[in-house]
Structures are given as C-alpha cells and as structure tokens.
C-alpha cells in the first residue's frame, strides 16, 4: 500500500512539475498513466482536465472534469478547472451555474469571487464588482492580482487616489506577474496617467512577450508617447468622466454649434492614430511587416 501511495504522490508531483515547465504533452501522458493506475480516483481525472485547460483544449478539459465529477461530485479541482475554462471561453451562461456550484463546494476559494468581479467589471457594474472583490480580498488580502483588479475598478469609478494607492500595494506584493502589470496599466490609462501605463505595460511585456493581448496593449500605449496623440486623446479623457446622458447632450450641442470643427477633429484623430501606429511599428519592428 505504501508503495502505491508513493507512486501516486510521485506521479502527482511530476505532473505539477511538468505543468510548471509547460511540458503539457508529458504532463498529459503522466496523468493518463495515473488514471490507468487509479481508475476510480477523481483527482487523477481532474488533473488531466487541468493539463488540457493549460493547453487551451477546453472541450477535452470539460470532458475530463465531467469524468472526475462523476466519481466525486464535489471534486474541488474539477470545479475550478470547469469554471476557469468557461471563463476563458467567455461562455457566461454556462459559467454562472458552474460558479454557483463551485462556490457551494468550496466557499473559501477567493478566486471565484475574483472571477465574478472581473465579469461584473466588464459589464460596467463597478459597484457590484467591487463588492465581490472585497470578499476575495477578505479571504486573501495579499493577492496582488486582486489588488490590481481593484485598482482598475476604482479607476473606472473615478476614485483615482484610491486606485493609485492600490497600485502601490499591488506592486509591493508582486513584481513578476504580467497579469498584475496589465490590470494596473489599464487603471493608469483610465486615470490618464499614460507615462505610468507605458512603464507598467513595458514590465508586462518583458515578462510575457508571447501574450498577444499584452503586445497589442503595449504597442497601443506607445502611441501615447507622441504629444499630438495625447492632445487628440484629451477630449476622450474628458468624455470618460461624463455620464452617458451628458455625452449625448454634449455630442448634440457639438454637432449643432461646431459641426465643421467636429469633422476636422475626427479626421485629425484618425490621422494621428494611424500615423503614431506607423511610427511605433517602425520603432519596434523596423521597416518590415510584423
């Protein structure tokens, strides 16, 4: 019996090692071997699901989560992988019930509150997002990722000073997470602090140059290095501080009173956008296609 346990824990450790090294093919082989050895062990199936999730093979991940949950309906890892897979697939309808069940099974997992906060933030329901995130922070107050998201939410709500304080807290806790830098960069952009945005995205891209989203955000942020682009962006900064009805009224007034100037401004904005995009491209990639 002890030999079997040893083999099990060895395999389990090896799978975790292989996942950390991003050797997913080897990890899946080890997980399959574990399933062959322990065919009724739900953890073995949920580990395989975890490997497939890391490989972005969501359908396979869901399948193996299902196998794990058939054997153990309250398997925490399986619910975790299920939820995060739905989240990354942006399957909000499926995510909602899965998240509810996952939180019932594991009510002290802060990541679920974080997921909910992120979804609410994307929908513009900032106050509700903040409430969810506060619960995550209560369970894990020193998670830089949660603080970074909170900084972003506070910036969205116009609480710039609080957002800045949260940024400092997050950076004190974690200085090697591309995700943290990304959220903090968004918060900085929301506050109109473009210099800080570029610094934060520069750190994010140094850590994860392979992430397309970070690359795109970084290149876009570099455009803000150009003063002309910042000038044409300044009305956008002002508009963000207005409520929707205020934006509509301002737009109608602008059309009536300043129509020719408005057209000139729009042309100028588009031209500046593309010119600075070209300048950034040449600076980073030279005179060749990406």
């Amino acid at each position: 019996m002890s030999i079997q346990l040893d083999t099990y824990s060895t395999r389990y450790e090896r799978i975790q090692h292989l996942l950390k090294w991003k050797k997913y093919k080897e990890a899946s082989e080890e997980a399959m071997a574990l399933i062959r050895e322990e065919p009724e062990d739900a953890d073995a199936y949920s580990m395989l699901a975890q490997v497939f999730w890391k490989m972005d093979k969501y359908e396979e991940a869901h399948h193996w989560c299902g196998e794990a949950l058939r054997r153990d309906p309250e398997n925490q890892l399986a619910w975790f992988v299920k939820c995060i897979s739905y989240y990354e697939q942006k399957k909000w309808n499926e995510l909602k019930p899965a998240l509810a069940e996952a939180m019932r099974v594991d009510p002290y997992e802060p990541f679920y509150y974080y997921l909910q906060a992120d979804i609410l933030n994307q929908k513009g329901r900032y106050q509700e997002a903040k409430e969810q995130l506060l619960q995550a922070l209560e369970l894990n107050p020193e998670d830089a990722g949660y603080l970074a998201l909170m900084s972003y939410i506070e910036a969205q709500m116009g609480h710039f000073r609080v957002s800045k304080e949260l940024e400092e807290q997050a950076l004190r806790l974690e200085s090697e997470s591309d995700n943290v830098f990304l959220y903090l960069a968004w918060a900085a952009s929301r506050r109109g602090d473009y210099d800080q945005e570029i610094i934060l995205l520069g750190n994010a891209i140094r850590l994860a140059p392979d992430e397309k989203q970070i690359r795109d955000e970084y290149l876009e942020a570099l455009q803000k290095n150009y003063k002309l682009y910042r000038i044409v962006l300044s009305p956008v900064k002002l508009i963000r501080q207005l409520k929707p009805w205020q934006i509509l009224v301002s737009w109608m007034l602008a059309v009536i009173l300043f129509k020719p100037l408005l057209i000139v401004f729009i042309i100028l904005y588009i031209a500046t956008h593309w010119l600075t995009k070209l300048l950034v491209h040449v600076k980073i990639f030279g005179w060749r296609l990406k």
């Binding site: 060895t10 090896r14 090294w21 980073i284 990406k290």
Partner: protein, 318 residues
C-alpha cells in the same frame, strides 16, 4: 606517429559515457557514442566554438596556457526543438577525449525534498572524479527556471544547487566542461547567465538546404529506394528541423509499406512518397521562431537573441 595514434585510440576506448538512470536512481555507464562531428551536417560555427573551447584545450593545453586560457568553461546551446542540440552533444562525446555525462533533469528529480539536489551534487562530484569530463545538461529550462516564478521553496533550492555546482567548478577550475541545451533560454534564471556560468550562448538553427539533403540521405540509408531527387525535397522543406525530416521519411516508409501490403513485393520509396509526405507536414520550428521573435523584440534586455532576429530576417521569416 602510429604508436601515438594507437595509444590515443586505446585511451579513447577507456573513456566512459555516464548517464543518470531514473529507473535505477543511480549513475550508470553506457557505451561511448560512435557519432562524431563528421556525422553532424552543417553547424560549422557551433563546431568551431566547441573545438576551440573544449576539444583543443585538452589536446594542446600548453598552447592555450600560453594565451592565459584555461581548459574548461560552459556553453549554452539553444534553438528550436529537433535541430540537433542533443545529437551535437553525443557527437561531442564521440569527438572529445574526455568522459561524457549526459544529464536529463527530469530523470534526477525526486519526490523527496532535498534528494534532487543530492542527485545533482552526486553527478557533479562524479564528473570531478572522472576528469576530464564533459557534462551535458539537456532541457536546462526544466531545472534552471526563473526562481521568481517558483512558489515552492524546494524548487528554488534545485536552481540554487545548480548555481553552487557551477561556481564550484570555477574554484576547482580544471577540465570539467558543461554544455547545456534548451529550447527556451528566456525561461532560465538570470543568475545562470552570469559570467562563469552559461554566458556563452550559441544559437543552433534549423538545417540549411544542403544539410537537409544530407539528413534525408542519412535517414533513407539502407531503405529500399527508387530514383530520388533529394535536393528538390530539401528545397521544398524550408525551416524543417532534423526531427521533421525524420518524420517525412517515416511517412514515406509508411506509404511504401502500404503499397507492399497490396502488391506483396518490396516497394521502394519513391520521389512522390517524399513529396506527398513533405506537403502534408509543416515545419515545427515556426512556432518556436514566433515565440523567439516576441522575446527577442520585447524582452531581450541584454540583446542576447538578436542573432535570432537576424536569422529570421535573412530567411524571410515574419
């Protein structure tokens, strides 16, 4: 002269190739590889560097001593998978007049805390006992990952142990050479890249056209073949790694076997078999280059990977 050659050959026959067997959990000796640099197609720059830093200092220590150069050091080979890094290491073992230790790090890992470090130390101690010795560490990124990204203390300990052993080599400072290979040098802990450790980076690119033709010839050797124009296949397989070419040959063999099963006779591998196999496969190196380009463009603080960008530019890769 012939006495000296005989003596040399006799000494080479006594040299050991040692590897860590994960099933037995101990160091075992194996046969010395028969491959030498002559079997490695292309990579002339890489071979030149290895000759200069590893092979010649052993053969002519007095010459190098005159320049104040000691025999020894370390080298990091990096590049896309399947392009000959491990094969090159075997060729070094065949070429060099030194013992050769091949370490696969996944093999030395143990579930018991502290045992992996112990295994690693044993390997380096064994190397020191068997000087001159070349230690080849395959998949260095599996061991020497960035410690900042490691949450577990015992994972960081293994990187620390490796750093200690490399620095230990400096203080002993005689005739122990370390070659490491990795597909992902950007994942390595920055401490591994400091002078005295793996600060010599060598990019091992995919084979060029002539080399691809050679590799195809070697892989097809001994198999029933029709009239083949390997230069055309080599031309159509730009950026293919050695492993990709091997797969093409396997696919062609499969096609020939299928015909054999139908006809009942030995069917030679035809040009069409190779063409079809090449068409159905994509170069696996392209993914590596896409990743490498991002690291080289956005995350290359020390300008270590600029030659990758130059290579990509020279070969029209976006």
């Amino acid at each position: 002269m012939s006495d000296r050659n005989d003596l040399d050959q006799h000494r080479r026959n006594k040299l050991k190739v040692i590897r860590f067997d994960k099933d037995d959990n101990k160091l075992v000796e194996t046969d010395k590889p028969k491959e030498t640099f002559a079997d490695v197609g292309g990579l002339e720059e890489v071979k030149k560097k290895i000759r200069l830093n590893f092979i010649l200092p052993l053969q002519q220590p007095e010459v190098f001593a005159a320049y104040g150069r000691e025999a020894g050091g370390s080298l990091l080979l990096y590049g896309p998978p399947g392009c000959g890094k491990t094969f090159l290491a075997r060729a070094v073992a065949g070429e060099i007049n030194a013992n050769f230790m091949h370490i696969e790090l996944q093999a030395i890992l143990s579930m018991y805390v502290g045992e992996s470090e112990h295994n690693l130390h044993d390997i380096f101690e064994k190397a020191r006992e068997n000087k001159p010795c070349v230690i080849f560490i395959d998949e260095l990124d599996a061991l020497g990952g960035n410690r900042n990204q490691m949450r577990q203390h015992h994972e960081r300990m293994l990187v620390n142990q490796l750093l200690l052993e490399l620095d230990g080599l400096q203080s002993f400072n005689d005739q122990v050479f370390v070659i490491a290979a990795t597909n992902t040098p950007w994942y390595l802990d920055s401490a591994l890249r400091r002078p005295g450790r793996f600060n010599h980076l060598i990019f091992v690119p995919p084979p060029e056209e002539a080399e691809r033709e050679t590799i195809l010839g070697l892989k097809l050797a001994g198999k029933p073949m029709g009239k083949l124009e390997l230069e055309r296949i080599a031309k159509d397989t730009r950026m293919f790694s050695g492993a990709d070419l091997e797969q093409i040959v396997r696919d062609s063999v499969e096609s020939a076997l299928e015909r054999m099963l139908k006809s009942g006779n030995i069917e030679p591998i035809t040009q069409d078999d190779l063409k079809k196999a090449a068409k159905n496969r994509k170069a696996t190196t392209l993914d590596w280059f896409a990743t490498a380009k991002n690291y080289a463009t956005f995350s290359d603080v020390n300008q270590d990977y600029q030659n990758v960008l130059e290579y990509m530019k020279a070969h029209g890769l976006r």
